[in-house]
Symmetry: C2
Subunit: 143 residues, 2 copies
Amino acid sequence: MSEISKEYIELIPNLFKNFQRLNQKSSCLTHLQNQILEFLFMNQQPLTIKQISEALNVPKQQMTDLIKRLMDQGYITKSQNRVDKRSFVIELTEQGKFSQQEKWTKIYQNFINDLTKLNHEEQLDLRYALHKVNYLLKKMEES
Amino acid sequence: MSEISKEYIELIPNLFKNFQRLNQKSSCLTHLQNQILEFLFMNQQPLTIKQISEALNVPKQQMTDLIKRLMDQGYITKSQNRVDKRSFVIELTEQGKFSQQEKWTKIYQNFINDLTKLNHEEQLDLRYALHKVNYLLKKMEES
DNA sequence: TAATATAGTAATAAATTATATACCAAATTC
DNA sequence: GAATTTGGTATATAATTTATTACTATATTA
């Protein structure tokens, strides 16, 4: 039990550098704006302001302005929620998606580059192990 | 080649929730203070102000104050670098380490909890796969 | 239907973070 | 040894983020 956990915990520092890269603000976005776009991108689906607010621990009062600025800059759209007329649904625009994908591209290229330090057999091993980890972590999350 | 990368990239969202948890500020620390402690904790070794500044993309002018406040609050120590008398070496105090470990404890408990959703065989698989991934990722980083 | 809870907005002050410029002392280069 | 670079500090200003309180309109509940 604790052996698995140890390995899991260790995994995080191993990916830390790349996460740092995600945090880096892309030119014209503030830290929080970036967090919001990132969160939308990760979730791959429209979210309400409240959902974002709670997940990121940003008070809803702040969200109003943040959302407005992101909208003005063309990163997201905001439309009424048909189910609940009080709330709004936030979605990434193409530009918004692109701004996030850019960061991933850098991570991707970095990884490809480092990969050459492994021989062919190790590469196959890594691929299989990553696949297994992803599969099982996902399974764990599905409560 | 691109198959491995795909799995690698996918790994990051799978760990995202826990990373979010790391970002959450613990009571009396500001966002940047937290980032600095986290970075020191991850690196497991003393760093100069410049190293932190560059890695976190925080201008050195800000560092002076940030470091001072962290020192005043007892999270870090600052001592002259013997090799280069212009620079200083920053280290986590016990309190500083503890403040970071707390967050990991939560991640750990969360993981242990989710683990019950896998059967025994899957747990063994996960452990082995995680071990493999960690081993190979580390090997890749050692240039 | 009246009372209450919820999603979001508005506005303001205080704290944090970002940007720019100038400075000192030790290190490096010529 | 003089000139230049580098690690860090000091200071002022602007932008962002946090915190507080009050408000509107829709949902929910009794």
